[in-house]
């Protein structure tokens, strides 16, 4: 594979963008980059609009193997740009979102329907020219399905459970799902619009509430982006404390997921026991950092609170208790044939799709994609810690459960290492900057996959911030995974993905 820098079309390099380079290109250069994505020479990390300085679209691309990242920018004075989705399907929803939020049109895009804009806003193109919304909207055109004896099952936005809202349109032949089409955007809160002009403290609170289950990972990605832009380093102790919180968050979520997946196969015993483990982790987090989900504990500059006195011993005690009990639950999962019957060979994501979509997190790692932002590009302190990235190839619900089980084991071990090496010193560093516009990119591995944050700062205020949830590249794969499965297995497949609605909808 050629180095990423070789496939990037020649363009003007923007000096104020850190830590990875940003290039401004022309439309042919933009098309070349799209072709490189389509040819599998790079992975699409994000694609977003920007109306701040001039109408522009940006895409972040990565070399999976080396972790090299670059941002490519295309000015679009006519508010059009060559569609990336026409060549590379993972870009389709991102371009539809750009169309709805900014009014920039991807030329020859395969799908021109709106995304996120469900027709309820007062403004059209809220991040672009903000024109008044039309009084009436055409009905959303769901994809057509034709065939004898097909029937449709509309589900949501309000679902039967304590879960987030979204709409699923199933077309089934008997019990078999022929097609699932998702329609999302119900929890769109306009976070990127609220970010614009916000102070760093306000923006960090918003970033930490983009997807509450990944609040620590979002706060880390946002802090990384701001610190890169301002060219400052959080102190070592803060970096270790961030990793400690991130691993506690990963543990809590993985316990929740493992239990909930089993519960969706009506195996309540696992759910009950995993719920206990999750609660113990959250209580340890509350005792050590003053908040069960550790919201607002990571800030640009460092962390907001130090580990409470006696916190390290408390975490060790909690985790040793968990480490003693977890293997029995794994054995229970592995040896219950009726449960395996539901999870094995259900909801398969093929390796090629996982690669093409750059499937983040356990969705990718259960389908052969060995990517974890903690390793590549990697960030402190993980470069000094020993851990493995579990990768499986079956791509089914069972594999996604096993990746989580293995990651729990890795996180338990990581936390031991973090506590053993936790350096002394300050927990935050003053943020200066010379007031000049500055741009930064951050990439942090949440329990769900890599969260990307991109900022342009104007002094110590946010001029533009884009947050890309891992779910953007997982939701479409869920549509693929359910095809050919029975409707009754959808909850199981869905839970094994556990995509974020809020993180996706922004």
């Amino acid at each position: 594979m050629p180095a990423l820098i070789d496939i990037i079309p020649q363009g003007e390099r923007i000096e104020r963008h850190r830590p990875w380079p940003r290039f401004v290109v022309t439309p042919p250069g933009w098309r070349d980059a799209a072709a490189a994505l389509a040819a599998g020479r790079a992975t699409l990390l994000a694609l977003w609009g920007d109306a701040g300085l001039a109408p522009m679209v940006h895409m972040a691309i990565a070399d999976d193997a080396t972790g090299e990242i670059a941002v490519i920018s295309l000015p679009c004075p006519t508010k059009t740009f060559p569609s990336v989705g026409a060549l590379h399907p993972p870009a389709i929803r991102l371009e539809r979102a750009i169309g709805s939020l900014f009014g920039y049109e991807p030329v020859s895009a395969p799908d021109a329907r709106p995304w996120l804009d469900l027709g309820f806003w007062d403004v059209k193109h809220p991040l672009g020219d903000r024109t008044p919304a039309p009084a009436t909207h055409p009905a959303y055109a769901f994809l057509q399905t034709e065939g004898e004896a097909l029937h449709q099952i509309p589900v949501g936005p309000v679902h039967a459970g304590i879960i987030e809202p979204g709409h699923f349109r199933f077309t089934a032949s008997g019990e078999t799902v022929v097609r699932l089409e998702q329609r999302l955007g119900y929890v769109h809160k306009g976070i990127e619009s609220l970010m614009t002009g916000a102070t760093l403290e306000e923006a960090a609170r918003l970033a930490g509430r983009t997807s509450g289950d990944s609040t620590v990972a979002y706060a880390i990605a946002f802090a990384q982006a701001v610190e890169a832009a301002l060219n400052v380093q959080a102190p070592p102790r803060a970096l270790y404390l961030r990793a400690l919180m991130a691993e506690l968050e990963r543990l809590a979520n993985h316990f929740g997921d493992i239990g909930a997946i089993c519960n969706d196969a009506s195996f309540a015993l696992m759910h009950a026991h995993c719920g206990i483990l999750r609660e113990e982790v959250l209580r340890a987090a509350a005792a050590c950092f003053g908040h069960r989900l550790m919201m607002d504990r990571v800030l640009p500059s460092g962390v907001a609170v130090d580990l409470a006195a006696g916190g390290a011993d408390m975490i060790r005690k909690t985790l040793r208790g968990i480490a003693a009990r977890f293997p029995r639950l794994v054995e229970l999962y592995d040896n219950t044939a009726s449960l395996q019957d539901r999870t094995a060979a259900t909801g398969i994501v093929g390796a090629e799709l996982a690669r093409q979509f750059g499937a983040p997190g356990y969705v990718g790692r259960a389908s052969g994609r060995a990517f974890d932002a903690r390793k590549t590009p990697g960030y402190a302190p993980y470069d000094r810690l020993e851990f493995e990235i579990p990768v499986l190839t079956a791509g089914d619900v069972n594999a996604r459960v096993w990746v989580r089980i293995r990651e729990v084991e890795q996180s338990l071990n990581l936390i031991e290492q973090i506590l053993a090496r936790l350096p002394d010193g300050p927990i935050a560093t003053p943020l200066g900057g010379n007031g000049a516009p500055a741009e930064g990119l951050g990439l942090a591995e949440s329990f769900r996959g890599d969260v990307l944050a991109w900022v342009r700062l104007d002094g110590l205020r946010v001029a533009r911030c884009h947050l890309r949830d891992p779910s953007w590249f997982q939701w479409p794969l869920l549509e693929a995974a359910i095809e050919g499965n029975i409707v009754a297995d959808f909850p199981l497949c869905n839970k094994s993905f556990n995509c974020s609605y809020s993180g996706h909808d922004l």
């Binding site: 007062d122 809202p165 119900y186 609040t215 929740g256 206990i276 040896n335």
Partner: protein, 173 residues
Amino acid sequence: MRRTLLEGLTHRPLTETPPAADEAALKELAASVDRAARQKLGRSLAIREVDAGSCNGCELEIHALNNAFYDLERFGLRFVASPRHADVLIVTGPVTRNMREALERTYNATPDPKWVVAVGGCALDGGVFAGSYAVVGGVGAVVPVDLHIAGCPPTPLQLLQGLLALLQRPPAA
């Protein structure tokens, strides 16, 4: 599996002593819900949860109410799948414009008498999302609210204290 099940029988339960009902919640209910309706409270209540725009933090803590430590069902409170089976709607999040109609329809599908509990800082007034083009505001801007449980997100204990207020019946006249 046998060992895990047997231990469940022989070990002491993890379930904790219930907290007292939250005083502020009791006062709010006394003010917002009339006496006749309150007489109907205090029994087993079916709860339907509606996420009207939350970041999903509140959902995580509402989920936790069902774990072995809090065991919500011991109080006769249980989550149901349909608003048509519900006495209480728990609504989280700032209400987004995209969820407004869905929330109204869920409310209208819930049979009377019904009570609405708004959970979390966003459900009170939109929280950090107030003022966005995509957000209507707090839950009260869309459906009448009988009880607020504050917090970002409220802890399961705070949720329990608030919900237990629903179970306190006013003394007979």
